[in-house]
Structures are given as structure tokens and as C-alpha cells.
Amino acid sequence: MNTVPWLTILLIVPAAGAVVVAALPRRHATLAKQLALGITLAVLVLAVLATFAYDPDKAGFQFGQSYDWISTFGISYSVGADGISLVLMLLAALLVPVVVLSSWDEVDGGDAAGTGRVPAPAPAPDAGGSPGQVGDGGIGGAGGIAGAGAGAGAGGVGGGSGGGTAVALAAPPVVTAAAPAQVATPAGRSVPAFFALLLALEAGMIGVFAATDVFLFYVFFEAMLIPMYFLIGSYGPVKEQAQRSYAAVKFLVYSLLGGLLMLAAVIGLYVVSADNLGHGTFDFATLRQMEITPGVQKLLFLGFFVAFAIKAPLFPFHTWLPDAGAQSPTGGAVLLVGVLDKVGTFGLIRYCIPLFPDAADYFAPLVLGLAVVGIFYGALLAIGQRDMKRLVAYTSLAHFGFIALGLFAFTSQAGTGAVLYMVNHGLSTGLLFLVVGFLVSRRGTRDVGAYGGLAKVTPVLAGVFLLAGLSSLALPGTNSFVSEFLVLVGTFTANKALAIVATCGIVLAAIYVLYLYQRTMTGPIVHEENRVLHDLGLREKLVVAPMVALIVALGVYPKPLLDIIRPTVTATYADIGKSDPAPTHPAAAHPASVHPASVQPGGHS
């Protein structure tokens, strides 16, 4: 039994770091970077230590801590880790330092270099013009307002810019390589602020996984949005001010809408608990024991589910992701898709399924349906993209389909696979985003058409790119294979038809990865400027090295992670009375085919 408050430490270190870094004056850019790197690495070390301190075979939460926060509503600051949240925290702790290192020159210099390489775009005639038109397109009569308002001149700009951002959701600015509105200079961007945001984000991510109080979870769930929002909005592509504002607002409002619906469910849960237990509480463990009538369960489930489905995102709720993915700085994109979105899938297995088992049963077909649709939809759209970051975003849609599929197949294999998938997807897609980011920073455009034949010029880059792709298409020997196969095989035992359909998706995966590789890396070099691109530098190699290593290592020897995840997942499904279907003709009575239901968490390894 260890008494070290691991999770609180993991929370405080980055949070405090964020404050410190934010306090630095702009000119201390380098110091900010070094500080951020140091802090995140410290967090990583702590997280690893915590993992060693964690005892996978012990049921329930570990490192638990609980202090009253808002006793009036039975809210407490309580944190704890189980197998699922631990690995995700580990992922977050790993990715952030990588991102810090990868964004070393992105805020200052990096973009300048980028603009240096590509021909400078023609500045738009009227400063407010471009967003203004957006506004007009956006809301019926925004233009009219601009005209009608007193001081039409200023009003025009005001209404325009207002519309351009406020009602931008109504009409996305056309994403073009050429700069839309004002041509910004990276000068306007504060380096310390950027890294402070990253640290704040890390704190939020760890908190959201560590929380064992539903209210606390919600708080982190929402609070996380803000740093991400600023990362997209103020550090996105320099020359696409209108688009990145649009993407940022879309991301925030979309997530906020989901979050608020969830808030309704959260409060509902509290009220139900107040009725059932006499005193309202948000304590997850307590709520989990609570009996809720199926009708209420369904409503509450939907409240949570929509929020998570938007976050994840699942099929019909995904349209914010491509914009956000394309418009956020590379580091932001990595964290967004790598970790932030996992909160959605994490929420599904941590909250939706255990809290509302009946509803989960009732809605499982719906979720599974969305998942399978997502697998194909995401893959096909990825094939159809020309913007590389959007493409990667769409592949994530497909992957999240697999994850959701695994979670709602209700077998320990599928569940474990899905959770492992969350980690693996963070690594593979993270690496993919990083590499794409490297390309974009060299070439200044996300358009696939601008590349081609780079394998000759930048062999190492190409190699890493290919590896990331292979991991993304779940090739055996890479990490993703283990998780994807577990998901499929687990689903298969529960629902053959679905599994068969889903398996066909792996062909599409091959297509979107290799087609992208073919268009960017192979063939003759068509654009002269591509001949001079330089291969990965030392810093970039340092960035990708750990990812590459893990991708291979986890593909060859995933057991350590599986041993952490498996007991929790098995227990979760056991709690809601789900057990793996037994093989129809068990071959032999060797330990391998002992019926899983009888396998308690950590029963054997």
C-alpha cells in the first residue's frame, strides 16, 4: 500500500508549471521552452513511477484521495486511478513532452521560415473584408445589420468581423493556400503563452482521467476546452486567420453544447442520487452501486453519450474534427486527436457503461451501428481528402469507430482491445500528425498535390511517415495490430456479422494510408522546391524516436499494458453482468480457454 498522492502531484506539477511559464515575459522564449520541456519530462517520470507503484491485480481505484469541495452539493475533490485511466494518463504524460519538443520552433521562427519558403500570399484588399463576407454569408442580414447600424463604416467592419467569427459557424471560410484576411506575423504570438497553454492542457487531461468525482470530471472536461481553444485560435496557421478562428469557435461551441447536455445529465444523476440515497453525491463509486430505473437511465445515458460522441467523435458528430485538426498547430493536433478525444471514449467505458448498464444495453445496437458506419465513412472520406491534416483527422474518425465498436461489444477482449486502441491510436496518429507537421513546416502547405517523390529527398522522414502509416493500418508488428485484432476478435465472439463487416474496413485502411504515401513520397519530383527540402534534423529525430520505439515495442510485446488494462475492463463488464461467450467447441482445458467470466481481474496472467 503506497501513500504517495501520485495523482495530485501529477496534477499540480503541470498546473503550477503553466502558471510559472505564463508569468514569463515574452522575450524569455527559450527559457519558457526549456522550462516547459523540463516540467513535462518530470511529469512523464512521475507518471512512469506511478505506473510501477500501481498494482494491476487490485480491484477498484488506487492512489485514491478525497477531500470535500462543495459539500452543499456533495461535491468532493476525489481522484483515483484504475487500469484504464492509468494508461491514458501515461499516454498524455508521454505525448506532451514530445509535443513540446516538436513545437520548439513552431511559434517563433518556425512559421516565419515556412512563410519564407512559400511565395508570400497577396494581401487581401480590405482588412475586414474577407471575414465580413463570411458574416454576410453566415447570417441572413448580417450585411444588412452592418449597413443599417449607426456609423456604417466602422459598423461594416464590426458586423463583418463579428459575423466572420461569431456566426462563422454558419459558413466556413474557404480554406485556400492563399492568405485570406490580414497577413499576420508570428511576432504577435507569445511563446511562453503557447507552452503555458500546453501545460495547462496537460493538467486538464490528467485531471479528467484522474477524477473519480463526476462533477470534478465535468469540470476538467470543460476546462480543458479553453487552452485547446486558444491553441487553435491563436497558434493555428498564421496565414489563415479567418479559418482558424472559425475552427476554434466551432470546436469550442460544439464541445460546449455536448458538455452542457452532459451537465444536465450530471445534475440529473445528482438529483437521482439525492432521491435514492437521501443525500446527493457525485462520488463515482457510490453512484455506480446505485439502482436507477431504466427510463431515467436512458435519458441520463443520452446526456452523457452525446457529449462523449461529440468529443470522440463518433460518426454524425464529427464535422468539427477536420477543421480543428487542420487548423490547430501540429502539437495541438497531436494532443487533440491523441489524448483529448480519448476523453470521449474513456467516458463511454468509465461512465456510460457502468453507470447506466440497462441503457447501455438498450443503446448498444445504435452505438455499434454508428461505430461501423464511422469505420467506413471515415476511411472513405480520408481517401478523398487532399488536405493532409484533414485526411489524418478523418482516419481518426475510422479508428474511433473501432474503439466504440470494441467498447460496446461487451466482451473483455474487445473492451481491452479498445482501451489499448486508445493508447495506440494516440501513438500512431500522433506520429502521423507530427510527420505531416514536419512536411507542412518545410513546405508551407497541407495540400497533398504540393508533394510527391520526397522519399528520395528526405528518406528518413519518408521512413517514419511509412511506419506511422503502417501502424495506422494496423500491420502486425506495430502496436495497433494488437488492439485492432482484439477488438475485432472480441466483437466477433459477440456479434459475427458486425465483426465481419468491420474487418473489411482494414482494406480501406490500407488504401488511405498507402495512397497518401504514394502521393507524397513516391513517384518523380514534380515541384522543384521539393528538391531542396532537408531531411529530419536532430531535434525532429528526437521527437519521433520514442514514438517509433513504442510503436514497435508495443506491437511485439504488449503484455505489460494489457496486464494493466485487462483486469479493470473485465471487472467493468463483470459488474454489469456481461461475460465473454464461451467457445462453442472448447478445444482443451488448458488455462488459455478457462471461461473469462470466472477470471477475476488479475486472476491469471
Binding site: 445589420i145 443599417a148 447600424g149 449607426a150
Partner: protein, 99 residues
């Protein structure tokens, strides 16, 4: 004679006042219509006082008059200041603030 009729009368007065507020442009007249509404209420109060057989209603009427008087002071001040600027007391001329 049935005191309820006075209620009806007062209701009529109140309505007239209301309509006056809506239809008249001249600020002063609008303001007078409001005064009419208040006095309609006074009538109501007195009537109820009669019906309930308590004096409270009548006392309240005095209160209302005082308040109305205070209102007049404020109101005329405001209207006057506007009139001095715009040389008009039409409430419709005053609409810079809109939308």
C-alpha cells in the same frame, strides 16, 4: 348603488390611460395618460376600501398621489431637458437607440 360599477369605471379609465400611452406622440400627453392610469387605480382603491369596509384603501390613495407627484417632477425634468435639445416633445423623434 352597486360599488362594483366603480370598479368597471376605474377599469375603463385605466384602459383609456393605457391606450393613451400607446397612441399619443406628445411626451407630455403620454405622461398624462400614465397619470390617468394611476388615478384610475386610486379610484379602484377607494372603491375596494368601501367594499371591504376598511380605511386602508383610502390611505393608500394618498400614498399614490404623493408618489405620482414625485413622478411628475422627475418626468417633467427629463422631458424638458430633451425638449430643450430637440425642440420637440414627440416621443417618436427620440430613437437613436435601436436594434
Amino acid at each position: 348603488m352597486n360599488p362594483a360599477n366603480y370598479l368597471i369605471l376605474s377599469a375603463l379609465l385605466f384602459t383609456i390611460g393605457t391606450v393613451g400611452v400607446l397612441v399619443r406622440r406628445n411626451a407630455i400627453v403620454v405622461f398624462m395618460s400614465i397619470e390617468l392610469m394611476l388615478n384610475a387605480v386610486n379610484l379602484t382603491l377607494v372603491t375596494f376600501s368601501r367594499i371591504n369596509g376598511t380605511l386602508d384603501g383610502q390611505i393608500m390613495a394618498f400614498f399614490v398621489m404623493v408618489v405620482a407627484a414625485a413622478e411628475v417632477v422627475i418626468g417633467l425634468a427629463i422631458i424638458l431637458s430633451i425638449f430643450r435639445t430637440r425642440r420637440s416633445t414627440s416621443v417618436d423623434d427620440v430613437n437613436l437607440l435601436k436594434y
